[in-house]
Symmetry: C2
Subunit: 220 residues, 2 copies
C-alpha cells in the first residue's frame, strides 16, 4: 500500500476487471478521484473503453468498487498483521497505529490514508461513496473496538469503548495528515504518545508492563 | 467558510487578484486542486488568462497564495471568535473545537477542513505547498498551545503541551473526517468528548467548573 511502489504494470494474465480496479485504486490515491481522467485510467489498466463499460456503468461505479475493495482488504492489509505482533489487546491497538507509522516511515512521510483522502475529496452528494467510506471507517473502528472489549476489565465500568475506538481513528487520521504535511514523523508520534498517555490514565496502569510480544513462528 | 454558501459572484469592484484568489480558494475546496481547471477558474473569477498570468506565474503559485490567505485569515476566522466565547483558557481550546462543530452542523456535516483536504491531496513533491500547509497547522496548534500555556499550573510539571496541542488538532481533523463520511455529528462529538475526558484526567479536575462565559458586550 506504499505510494512509492512502481506504477502498476499489469501482466496480461491479470483479468481486465482487476486491472481496472487496481489502476483506479492507485490513481484515485495518487491524483484524486476527480483528477483521474478516463484516458489515463484506461492506459494504465491497458484496457479499452468497451471493456470498461462492460464491467462498470460509470466512473462512480468504479469508485464504489474500489471502496468495496478497501473494505474487503482491511483485515488482511491492516488488522491481521498488527494483531500478529502482540497478544495483549491494548498493545494490539497500538500495533495497528504502529502499522501507519511504518507506512509513513517507508514513504518518507508522503503516505496519506487513501480512505481519509476520499472522505475529504469526494462530493458529499455522492452518497453511495460516502456510505462506503463510512463503512471502511466503521470496520476499522470495529476492529479496535474488539481489542478494547478484550481488555474491558481494565477500563472503568460503563466506559464508552465505542467513543474510544472512534478517538483512536481520529488520532491516526489527524496524525498522518500532519506528518504528511511537514514530512516528519513527529506529529504522528506526538499524537500517538498522547493517546497512549490517555490509555494509561483510563486504565490506571502502564499498558507497557503487559507487553507480550509474539515470538516468530508462534501461533496467534 | 461554509461550503453551502452560494457560488462566488464577484462584483466588478473587487480587484482581479482578489477575485482569482477567492475563486481558487472555493474551487480547491469544492473540487480539489488537481480537478480545478484553468477555464473554470477564470470563468468563476470573471478574469481572462492575461490577467491571471499578470498576477500568478502558474496554478501552483495561485495555490501558494491561497494557502498564505488561509494562514493570514486563521486568527480572524477561527481563533478570535472562539476566544471571545470564554475566558477560561481550557474552555477556549474546546471553543475552537466547537467552532468546527458549528461548521459541521451548519453544512449538514458536509464540511471538510480545506487545509486537511489539501494536505492529503497535493502531491508530496510540491514542497512549497506542503510547507504552507504545515505552517497553517503550526499556526493552529500554536494558538492552542498558547491557551494551554495559560493553564500551565493545571497540568503536571513538565507535561508536553506541544504534543497535547498537536493531539487537539488530530482530534479535530479526524473527527471532521469521520463526521463528513457518515453525515452525522456523532464521531466528531465522540472524539471531542474523549479529548475532554483526557483533559479532565490530566488536570485532575473537571474544567467545566471553571467555565466563565463572557457576557455579550463585555471586553476580552
Amino acid at each position: 500500500m506504499s505510494r512509492s511502489r512502481p506504477a502498476t504494470n499489469p501482466a496480461k494474465t491479470i483479468p481486465t476487471r482487476s486491472r481496472l480496479l487496481e489502476s483506479a485504486r492507485d490513481l484515485f490515491w495518487e491524483k484524486g478521484y476527480a483528477a483521474t481522467g478516463m484516458a489515463e485510467l484506461l492506459s494504465r489498466a491497458q484496457a479499452n473503453s468497451g471493456s470498461f463499460y462492460h464491467f462498470f456503468d460509470s466512473k462512480e461505479a468504479l469508485l464504489l468498487a474500489v471502496l468495496d475493495g478497501y473494505l474487503e482488504g482491511l483485515d488482511s492489509a491492516v488488522i491481521r498483521p498488527a494483531l500478529a505482533r502482540h497478544r495483549d489487546p491494548i498493545e494490539r491497538v497500538f500495533a495497528i497505529l504502529g502499522g501507519y507509522r511504518d507506512r509513513l516511515l517507508s514513504t518518507e512521510c508522503t503516505y496519506g490514508c487513501p480512505i481519509g483522502r476520499l472522505a475529504l475529496e469526494v462530493d458529499p452528494e455522492v452518497l453511495p461513496a460516502h456510505q462506503r467510506i463510512a463503512a471502511n471507517f466503521r470496520s476499522w473502528t470495529g476492529a479496535i473496538r474488539k481489542c478494547l472489549e478484550q481488555a474491558r476489565d481494565r477500563f472503568p465500568a460503563h466506559f464508552d469503548l465505542d467513543a474510544l475506538a472512534v478517538f483512536v481513528l481520529s488520532t491516526m487520521e489527524g496524525g498522518v495528515m500532519q506528518s504528511r504535511s511537514c514530512r516528519n514523523i513527529k506529529p504522528f508520534d506526538q499524537s500517538v504518545a498522547q493517546l497512549r498517555q490517555y490509555f494509561v490514565l483510563i486504565t490506571g496502569r502502564t499498558t507497557k508492563n503487559k507487553i507480550e510480544p509474539i515470538r516468530k513462528g508462534a501461533g496467534n
